[in-house]
Symmetry: C2
């Protein structure tokens, strides 16, 4: 067989590297950044990276691809040359770490092997070399354990038992209490463990390396890693790269140490050096949270020179990467080594502040600043906080580290499974753990907040919670957790599972009981970022709101109008339901008209309230949509009450309820089908809207006919609405007529594919993508839970199509409707009012396909503003391009995308981009 020419291995070290930071897909984040750091002269222990392509090839063939072994050998040689050490022998043996590193950071997910290269021979050479017998034996037993656990898949309990046995024998409390003899005994015990498990600890160091690389490759598909990718929606990666790097030791004595730092505060975003370290420790010790580390500033006390060097590196990293970095370092006998850097995870608050500050500092321009906040994080900025009064009065039971900001209140649970189960049952829970581990990810996701009693700001719990935007108080040592008894104790007070506690992730305080929350406000750098977003975005952002209160909240968040005002609750509230039921029970139009007449003045008042709250912004109001059976009681008690209230027999009520039963209510008698069967409902609602619009100065009503699949349905309902408009106009002679538009939801697939016909009768379309997904995909939202989870897990759909718009399918229906609609009616206004209107990826789609606006729940308005701006920055002003396009081809999916990328952004955006580009000089102050 011909030798493969593919380059699988990339060297770095000594101020040079074969890779760089742009090669993340190939080298993984860690590998690419090790190369980059090496290139810019940071002190990186030399090593090499095996590419993700090699991992991919391994996954397919379950063996190393042709050529990889040769390349690894060659690079080992190169590493020996660079370090002057030899692998597996010699007076200065080369020890390496083997670490995973995918293109996307997956903390704690992938496995690592340290101290590789140790065998009986090199162990002795190392003792000779370092003169530190204890350190070498400790390194040896650690390597044995890690190799057994990670590479050979032996249960780590076996090693822990063996270790405990020796510790007990020696009366040692901590591992560090063991002396050389003790460690030798541990090694002997570990050898027994290997024997019992019928495994061999390879003395051949190339075997060690090969098996370790295999294990890292294999860990790509371990259940934890798969679950992490699922939860974080990480797709399309080839695999993990493997970094083989010269070992440096933070545990060679008190002049050694290891730490993790951020170039800015990842919690608040403040421009301060932030981090933690442990002297005489290995890197894993900091992250694992076993010992509580010291704050970075205290490093000064241990080694002034190294601290100064670190501060300089901090500056270099930010100047180079132009973003906040999260890096790991090790000090080996007074010498500083950089082991990793990556873009630091941060809270939403920090993201906003860093983006704003870096723009002001000239590190990034406006566009980059807008791109720096993940719209999915915006939620964190909008989540309610504790009511200050309530928090003031609440009983404080402990204070830990403010690991991830925000406020959370919920019932205590003690393990991840319970958290998931109870959250599924709709309960709010706080996950309380001594410390968390990757196995807890699901439970952390399900919980409102996370509390740990051990670990620091960079412990697993803290890092993951920040990534999730979940409130977390970490390392709250005052509290004691008893997993068996299922209790949380603090200073004599004991909380049982199910009791309420509250966490303030910003202050680190833990409270007893439930604490009320208050609305967040849009101020400071976040408000600035929103303003900047508005400057760039071309998509309008409206809100789904049914009440003046909703409108107030949404307008405060920047909503430019209502995109969907549902009116069903206007038939339910108070005693309106009695009138509604009278209508349903009426035998003829006359009876229905009488009952509706009772509801009309109330609905008019509702609309007056909404128009007033909107202060001149437009409101798209959807006429009655749900089937009538939603307005009648289905239980016998309710039916009895209804019969009494109506003064009729229970039998009659039951008959009516039965007659309203539907096999598939989703596809039943609802939407405009009601208005066609009972035109008097449409007339009543239209009258209430139009009269309200006459009452409120500046009111702009857009009457929306739901569930139109056929232009004739719209025409039918439009006639009724237009007649009402004429009647109300006649009754308001002399008054200025308010602007009223008539349009429709596009939510039935037939509506989408006949949009040209419908557009001829409509002034606007609003895509009801919830129902369009239900009918387009044939998924009942109420039932699809049974199989959609599996569908997403197996990759049949990339994501739950109810959460993120299914671009290929439902999106194609939208695309067809946009093209056909605009082809028939150039003035047609297009929006979306499904829940996708608040989903960033779906918003980007709406922009690309050329909609005029999105509409979402009030709390999603800022998300939408940001996502809309990012869409322009990433794809250009596609909406214009799409609108100008005259070709209407059903194959335009890819075309639209290409076009939108080419299309320029709108004038103002383009202008300001130029300005920003000019400003973009490295004028960042050096005062840090």
């Amino acid at each position: 067989m011909a030798k493969s020419k593919t380059k699988y291995v990339y060297f770095f070290g000594d101020g040079k590297a074969e890779g760089d930071t742009k090669m993340k897909a190939l080298l993984g984040g860690k590998g690419a950044n090790l190369a980059e750091m090496s290139s810019i002269g940071l002190p990186v222990p030399p090593g090499f990276t095996i590419s993700t392509e090699a991992c991919e090839a391994f996954q397919k063939a379950q063996k190393w691809p042709t050529g990889l072994a040769d390349q690894v050998d060659k690079h080992l040689k190169r590493l020996e040359n660079a370090t002057g050490k030899t692998f597996g022998s010699g007076p200065e043996p080369l020890l390496v770490s083997v670490r995973s590193g995918a293109a996307v950071s997956m903390p704690g997910m992938m496995d690592t092997v340290l101290n590789l290269g140790l065998n009986d021979e090199t162990r002795d050479a190392m003792i000779e070399l370092t003169g530190n017998e204890r350190f070498v034996w400790d390194a040896y037993r650690r390597f044995m354990q890690m190799f057994g656990d990670v590479v050979l898949g032996m249960e780590h309990e076996h090693f822990e038992e063996a270790l405990q046995k020796v510790k007990d024998k020696h009366g040692a409390k901590l591992d560090t209490d063991l002396d050389v003899d003790g460690l030798k005994q541990v090694v002997a015990e570990y050898e027994k463990v290997y024997k019992r498990q019928k495994q061999t600890f390879p003395q051949n160091v190339k075997d060690q390396l090969r098996k370790s690389v295999d294990a890292v490759f294999g860990s790509w598909n371990n259940p934890r890693a798969i679950r992490y990718r699922e939860l974080n929606d990480i797709r399309g990666l080839k695999g993990t790269a493997v970094n083989v790097q010269t070992m440096v030791f933070g545990n060679m004595g008190d002049d050694s140490g290891t730490g993790v730092a951020f170039t800015r505060d990842p919690s608040t975003g403040k421009n301060t050096f932030y981090g933690e370290f442990l002297m005489n420790a290995q890197g894993e010790d900091v992250v694992a949270g076993i010992r509580t580390p010291e704050p970075i500033a205290d490093l000064r006390k241990h080694n002034r020179k190294v601290y100064k060097e670190l501060r300089e590196i901090r500056g270099k990293l930010e100047d180079h990467y132009r973003d906040m970095q999260d890096f790991e370092f090790t000090i080996e006998r007074g010498t500083l080594y950089m082991l990793q850097t990556r873009t630091g995870k941060r809270t939403a608050v920090a993201a906003v502040k860093i983006a704003a500050d870096m723009m002001k500092e000239g590190l990034i321009d406006e566009k980059e600043s807008v791109l720096r906040l993940d719209p999915r994080q915006v939620d964190q900025l909008l989540h309610p906080w504790f009511d200050q009064d309530a928090e003031g009065k609440a009983q404080q039971v402990g204070k830990g580290l403010p690991a991830s900001p925000g406020a959370a209140t919920g019932r205590i649970v003690f393990n991840a499974d319970d958290a998931e189960k109870q959250a599924d049952d709709g309960k709010q829970v706080i996950l309380c753990r001594i410390e968390t581990s990757p196995e807890d990810i699901g439970g952390m996701h399900a919980a409102e907040g996370i509390l740990t009693t051990r670990g620091g700001m960079t412990s697993h719990a803290a890092v993951v919670a920040r990534g999730m935007g979940k409130c977390c108080v970490a390392g709250c040592g005052e509290l004691t957790i008893d997993y068996k008894a299922k209790t949380l104790s603090a200073d004599g007070k004991t909380f049982k599972e199910g009791e309420w506690i509250s966490l303030n992730g910003t202050s680190g305080v833990v409270y007893a009981g439930k604490i009320d929350t208050v609305e967040p406000k849009l101020t400071g750098p976040f408000a600035e970022l929103m303003k900047l977003s508005d400057k760039y975005r071309t998509l309008g952002v409206r809100t789904n709101a049914d009440t003046p209160h909703d409108v107030d909240v949404a307008v405060r968040f920047g909503a430019e109008g209502i995109g969907l005002c549902r009116t069903e609750h206007m038939f339910f509230e108070g005693d309106r339901i009695v009138s509604m039921r009278k209508m349903i029970l009426a035998d003829d139009e006359d009876g229905r008209r009488k009952a509706l007449a009772e509801i009309e003045p109330r609905q008019r008042d509702d609309f007056i309230g909404i128009f007033k709250a909107l202060k001149g912004r437009p409101a798209t109001i959807r006429l009655l949509d749900p089937p009538l059976h939603e307005f009648v009681p289905h239980d016998s008690e309710g039916q009895k009450q209804m019969a009494e209230a109506m003064g009729i027999s229970v039998k009659k009520v039951r008959q009516k309820v039965d007659s309203l039963h539907e096999f598939n209510p989703m596809l039943g008698h609802r939407g405009c089908r009601l208005g066609i069967a009972y035109p008097e409902i449409t007339a009543m609602q239209a009258r209430a809207i139009v009269e309200a619009a006459y009452e409120v100065r500046g009111a702009k009503a857009e009457i929306m006919i739901p569930l139109v699949g056929n232009v004739k349905e719209l025409a039918h309902q439009k006639r009724i609405v237009e007649q009402v408009i004429e009647e109300v106009k006649a009754a308001n002679k002399g008054k200025k007529a308010p602007p009223i538009k008539i349009g429709t939801m596009i939510e039935v697939p037939r509506g989408a594919v006949t949009a040209d016909a419908i557009a001829a009768e409509a002034e606007f379309f609003s895509f009801g993508t919830n129902d369009l997904t239900q009918m387009g995909c044939g998924f009942s939202r109420d039932d699809a839970g049974k199989f959609l989870k599996q569908y997403v897990e197996e990759g049949i759909y990339d994501a739950d199509p109810f959460q993120s718009l299914d671009r290929d399918g439902v999106g194609e229906l939208v695309r067809i409707a946009v093209e056909k609609g605009r082809s028939a009616n150039k003035a047609l206004k297009l929006g979306i009012c499904g829940e996708h209107g608040g989903d960033p990826s779906s918003i980007a789609f709406c922009h690309e396909v050329g909609l005029d606006y999105v509409s979402c729940s009030p709390y999603r308005v800022p998300v939408a503003r940001l996502a809309a701006a990012q869409a322009v920055i990433r794809h250009g002003d596609a909406s214009k391009a799409a609108r100008k396009s005259k070709k209407s081809s059903s194959k335009s999916a890819t075309k639209t995308k290409k076009r939108s990328r080419k299309a320029g952004s709108k004038k103002s955006a383009r202008k300001s981009a130029k300005k920003s580009a000019k400003k973009l000089s490295r004028k960042r102050s050096k005062k840090r």
Copy 2:
């Protein structure tokens, strides 16, 4: 205002005419044919036709359009000149009839006024002129009555009471028993009726005419007319024309008469002169069935010359129209006049025979012959007939006229309302009436058959029943009906409402009780027509069949394979349901596999049976489709039995049943979603199919994955099926592998719009247009009854989209899928297996859009063969054109149609068409 230049009035008479038979849309069928007959020299009383455009203008404005009055006046003058008579005065007063006549014949639906032009003055002149005082007074009182009833909307009871009063006074039994004095008294009484009803009988004859024309215009939208158009799916007409024609009288004595005739037997299609007449009677008397008329041959006895003349006219009409004609004539004092001709309605049997005979006679070519049978009529030829043995043993209770062939058995009902109600309840009923009237249409439609005790072969019941293809025995005078007692009596025996009777519409015999029926056979001219259809059609015709018996029937009818073999019953039959329920209750895959293993050999046997019956024809087999809850009992009794049979608790059964509940089962866990959740079901079915295919020589299996909306669903299931194929192949080493294709249903809208992706994985698509309609339009078939009726009535949909494919909407989805599918996979085979596959209009659509085949229920196969041939003859071979088309534009609806019309038919069809054209000379024998 400027005078309108529109020509509204068209003259005919004296061997000339301004219109002709092609102008039916404008002049109505009657008017166009009066003009045509006049042109070809037949003795038509002169007159003129007011166009349907005038009617349309009248409907809009509710008044005569500008110019119409002038044109009517001018044509009245012309009529006076042509006849030498004067309208409303003079010694020879011009009397006219005013009759409606739409483009499509609507027998008995529209109103007629006769003897118009009579007033006090012309009455006296007519007495003077005819010397027949009684005749003139009778004509006068008839005109008064008709004008009051039809034009002024007075209840006809008032006139009948008045007439009865005078008859009683004079001891007259029949109207004809009244002498001049009596008739004068009737006129006096009628004048009182007018006065009491505050109406005026206009003495001004122009007023008479104007009001009558208005009434005819108005009758276009009377409820009977609307209902008739609905039932017969008559759309797109402008209105009715109005024919004003010189009166001729069949009731001027024994040398006068009137009749109705067909150029061939409309019941059997035999080439014999067929008709009825009454001497000394008006035309209405024949149709109304009050006196039983004489057969046409007996006219010889009354007037040899006129009979000879009529026979010659019969020949002229067929030569000219090249189709069987239904005509009306009147003999006035020995002179023959033609009052109407039209294409005669006929039974399906007659249609087939006439088409075949006329082709042989050289009157029409092959293509015309194929077009002559309405595919909707084919059903009649396929309906079961009485089992001859059973009929032989049955008790005959009477014999009437064989008015419309076929056999019917059902419960006796005595009025149309009851017929409709009971049919709605699923009962088979026979509508028994003394005679029928247009009000009975709905009931006739609902009944299995119609029995009348009065009236002839051209009575209302007979004509309408033949049109409907409904079995009818008419004029069975031996039977007596008592509407009040609700009894039918014959020779001492009395039948009550609800008792069973049976009708043989071919022999006219009525039987007591229910009679078993037998399958029809495809023989004689019908078989020839089918062969001819096969010669022309390009669409394949398959059948939906689940059992060998279905296959046998369908193959006899010409099916070329199975287009849809549903497999759900293969899980239900016998004790398989027990295994199926075990599978549903199983907790793990292992349990499910065990239960499925019990079903597998039985399904294999099922498929073996089907493959054998197919004798080498292909079978598209759909894997399990319905949701699992359809396989468990939902009532407590059934659940108890299931629990006992399974040996588990009722509670467990109930829990499982509850867990399977879905809110919208249509959009739930079904189709391939089952196969993805439980791959073992797919594997089991695939194994049963593939193993069966190995068993039967020539078996061709096409495995169809249902409910695919996403290509990845198909890919998932395909992998499983392919693996099974490999396994079975391995187990059958040395045996020739049967051809097995894998494809999918396109029934989810998402599947249609992503058909390009899906086609890359599929060898065939079968459009499941039932579900595509449900999801595309958002109509639950089980629930849509509530509003779809109104939708069709109001014209929102042209027809029930579940019966006739909705071309604009669902059709657009099909069109998109065809284009995208073929663009990605040129070899893709396309078919349809929804119930639309048996609907002629939908079949035409399938042809136009370029499908390869349709599939329908066995009894619909001949319908499909005929409809497919007609589609080629009408639209050309669109399938080829569509397949060649490389442009894939979603706007191609109209393009496809245009293209298909231009596209030539296939080679053989073109060749034979040329041959037929040559043969097409008027070589018809004169021997008739």
